[in-house]
């Protein structure tokens, strides 16, 4: 029987295999050292986050020793951590770092783990170590309640050419999807049609009064702006005038990102519904019931799923050990160690 492996891990393995061709030092884990991590997100709270993904995942094996809200966090290895004290002494996380700066820092060796933006996974140089999770982030268009005419929403859903965006802007990272749950989690995502139908979109728009054909699309993440602009162009071809604005507050629609929060498809769907402002789906006891529940949530086109994207991180070659993220994108740094000093 063939072994199961995920494409993103295949990519990672490819990178790792390439790396293996070059000589490195000790093969046994080293105790000690500091792992330098950079992230885009900025936590302005007085205390470190305890829910969500990323930093909260460190709490199992590390303890916070320094917290500068919005800037920097330092975690130290817990001596009594389950599974043993982590190899690393400390994990230093720098927040609010733009993607471009993160890439440069990784290139210069100033950082060990950096986030990779949409489409960057494929563009990593040969030999670059990369960690990628399963496609756990849903990118979707979410309409504000004031957009009442379902024809507008349906027209936009039909106008978006997901394939082109996935192929070019995302560099085939992740997968095209018209479902809330990704295929790997539900097994039936392919049932939701994702192909664009510009002709039908135009027909729907033709029946709309001119005043309602203009809508604003809010996108806060600058890295996602090219996607929003391509959607606006697709919408224009269908007769809708979509203007991309940097604020989501007050916009008619927004480009949102929601994470899969559980490996249980039913729980994941419920969590997603809450995050997207959809009604809570009934508990589903089977894939078929779950499919029906998901279909019911997507009727009306209040939410238009577009893609499922993985978390992707570029990793400094001095970082050793298993991938520091789980398929859900959770951080698992306890089994990482670093070799050599920081330049």
């Amino acid at each position: 029987m063939r072994l199961m492996s995920s494409p993103w891990f295949a990519v990672r393995n490819l990178a790792l295999a390439a790396l293996a061709a070059t000589a490195a030092a000790a093969t046994r884990p080293h105790y000690g050292g500091t792992l330098y991590v950079e992230i885009r997100q900025s936590f302005e709270t007085p205390d470190p986050p305890t829910t969500g993904y990323g930093m909260p995942d460190l709490a199992q094996a590390f303890a916070i020793t320094s917290w500068e809200a919005g800037r920097r966090a330092v975690y130290a290895a817990g001596e009594n951590a389950p599974g043993g004290r982590p190899f690393l002494d400390t994990v230093e996380i720098e927040m609010a770092r733009p993607l471009r700066d993160q890439s440069i820092d990784l290139e210069l060796g100033k950082s060990d783990v950096v986030e990779l933006g949409p489409g960057e996974l494929r563009r990593q140089p040969a030999g670059r170590k990369v960690w990628a999770s399963a496609p756990v982030r849903l990118v979707a268009l979410v309409f504000a309640p004031r957009v009442e005419d379902a024809r507008i929403r349906e027209a936009l859903a039909l106008a978006v050419d997901r394939a082109a965006i996935h192929n070019v802007l995302l560099q085939r990272q992740g997968e095209v999807s018209a479902a809330l749950l990704p295929q790997w989690l539900s097994g039936y995502a392919f049932l939701f049609p994702a192909a664009a139908d510009a002709a039908r979109a135009r027909t729907l728009v033709a029946g709309l009064p001119a005043a309602v054909r203009a809508i604003s699309l809010g996108v806060e993440d600058a890295a996602a702006r090219p996607i929003a602009e391509r959607i606006a162009l697709n919408a224009r071809d269908a007769g809708l005038a979509v203007s991309v604005v940097p604020q989501v507050a007050g916009a008619d629609a927004r480009l949102a990102e929601v994470r899969i929060s559980s490996l249980d498809p039913a729980l994941a769907l419920a969590g997603m519904a809450v995050s997207l402002g959809l009604p809570e789906p009934p508990r589903a006891a089977s894939p078929e019931a779950l499919y029906a529940a998901e279909r019911a949530l997507l009727e009306g086109f209040r939410v238009i799923p577009l893609f499922h994207l993985p978390d992707a991180y570029g990793v400094n070659p001095r970082v050793k050990g298993r991938p520091g993220i789980t398929p859900l994108g959770e951080w698992r740094f306890e089994n990482l160690w670093v070799e050599g000093g920081r330049p």
């Binding site: 029987m1 063939r2 072994l3 199961m4 492996s5 995920s6 494409p7 891990f9 790792l16 295999a17 790396l19 293996a20 000589a23 490195a24 030092a25 000790a26 093969t27 046994r28 884990p29 105790y31 001596e79 009594n80 951590a81 389950p82 599974g83 043993g84 004290r85 982590p86 190899f87 399963a134 997901r162 997968e175 095209v176 999807s177 990704p182 295929q183 790997w184 989690l185 097994g187 039936y188 392919f190 049932l191 049609p193 994702a194 192909a195 490996l263 249980d264 498809p265 039913a266 006891a285 089977s286 894939p287 078929e288 019931a289 499919y291 050793k320 050990g321 298993r322 398929p327 070799e339």
Partner: protein, 400 residues
């Protein structure tokens, strides 16, 4: 657009997964096909012709798809429907799919303007271990398990396997496999350090188990028993048939803390090291210690530094096969944990490592390498894909 096929990492099998209950939980593909065929018969009507299209978006191969197809069409026939592309009353599309815990057969049925979707799922089987190719150095798989293997030894009673949580004694079966005789849990009192290491030393029917901060003594016969206590006893590192090194292991780390004593009573505190072995160069004894900085330092009999080797990994073991100068050092390849590893035999000539054999490749990293006999060593390898550990006896075969 059909979602791309995704093959999932078997690590998730260890995670809690959702097992659906209900009408469409089948045992296997046949059961799933039958479930769907029944639904289809009600939808299409008895005796009606239906057209069927098949596609596979799972990691299963054409054989499995063929099996699903055969089962479905047989079930349709059994339910009184005909499969025909001529004037079908309903058009069916059957998709073989999967998620991280189940395989799914998804049927989309269209009759006029009416559309129905049914799904039947069955649990995914655990993947079997892959057969691995041979080695140059002769390697033989002796044991494989999910839990980490720290060491394997072969007392007369069978096979002792030292794991972080237990010591298990396996007895041989007639077909060559091993049956679990008895397993004694280990309760260290506090968590093991990461990259926990352990060593078995068998003496007749009794054995010693060396673990970080814990020393155990036990017997394999008449039944497995073991007694452990916290302690800082040095580990006995035998190298070949002559040299012995006593080295203290850091209780909360994965390395020897540097306190050593040679067989001739010399005591010294060195820099910490991962592994050690003896070698002979032109009859002169040498000690080789794989240091934390990745280099293997060469020491003379007085434990004075005489050289260094930079091209080895952190696990070394010594053999004394009659060929190759009479003294060989088996060493892992320098690389990253998680990468495919290799073991190669070297001789020390002029304080430098000279390869003696081609490297024996492994699919994953070598997590333990202990000398076993004069001509063999035990290597434990972790499969990065499945996460399972496999123990190999690496034998230096002369003349191969």
């Amino acid at each position: 657009m059909i979602a791309a096929v995704k093959r999932w990492h078997a690590v998730l099998c260890a995670l809690p997964f959702f097992i659906p209950s209900g009408a469409h939980a089948a045992d296997d593909v046949n059961g799933a096909a039958h479930d769907l065929a029944r639904q289809t018969a009600v939808f299409a009507g008895p005796g009606q012709p239906v057209s069927v299209e098949y596609r596979n978006v799972s990691s299963l191969g054409p054989a499995e798809l063929g099996q699903a197809r055969g089962a479905f069409e047989a079930a349709l026939k059994e339910a009184g429907l005909r499969v025909s592309d001529v004037a079908p009353v309903a058009e069916l599309r059957l998709t073989l799919s999967e998620n991280q815990s189940q395989y799914l057969l998804v049927e989309e049925a269209r009759k006029g303007d009416e559309r129905q979707v049914w799904m039947a799922a069955w649990k995914r089987a655990e993947p079997a271990a892959a057969a691995l190719p041979g080695m140059a150095l002769d390697r033989k798989l002796v044991w494989e398990q999910e839990e980490q293997i720290l060491d394997v030894a072969f007392p007369a009673a069978g096979m002792l396997v030292l794991s972080p949580s237990k010591v298990a004694l396996y007895t041989p079966r007639e077909n060559g496999s091993w049956a679990l005789g008895r397993a004694v849990p280990l309760a260290p009192g506090k968590p093991w350090p990461r990259d926990v290491r352990g060593r078995l030393r068998v003496t007749g029917a009794s054995f010693q188990a060396f673990l970080p901060g814990v020393e155990c003594g036990g017997a394999a016969e008449p039944s497995l028993s073991i007694e452990c206590r916290a302690g800082d006893q040095p580990w006995v590192l035998e190298s070949g048939s002559h040299a012995t090194l006593l080295a203290n292991f850091a209780a909360t780390r994965n390395y020897f803390d540097g306190r050593v004593a040679t067989g001739n009573g010399l005591r010294k505190t060195m820099a910490p090291f991962y592994s050690a072995t003896s070698a002979a160069e032109q009859g002169r004894p040498l000690w080789l210690l794989a240091m934390l900085d990745g280099r293997t330092q060469i020491f003379d009999a007085w434990l004075e530094t005489v050289g260094a080797i930079a091209s080895w990994g952190s696990d070394i073991a010594g053999t004394e096969a009659s060929c190759g100068g009479g003294s060989q050092v088996l060493a892992t390849r320098p690389g990253n944990a998680g990468e495919p590893d290799a073991i190669q035999a070297f001789a020390i000539v002029n304080r430098a490592a000279t390869p003696l054999t081609a490297p024996v490749e492994f699919a994953g990293p070598v997590t333990a390498l202990w000398p076993m006999s004069a001509t063999s060593a035990l290597a434990v390898v972790r499969d990065p894909l499945t996460g399972r550990y496999a123990a190999y006896v690496i034998t230096v075969v002369c003349g191969s």
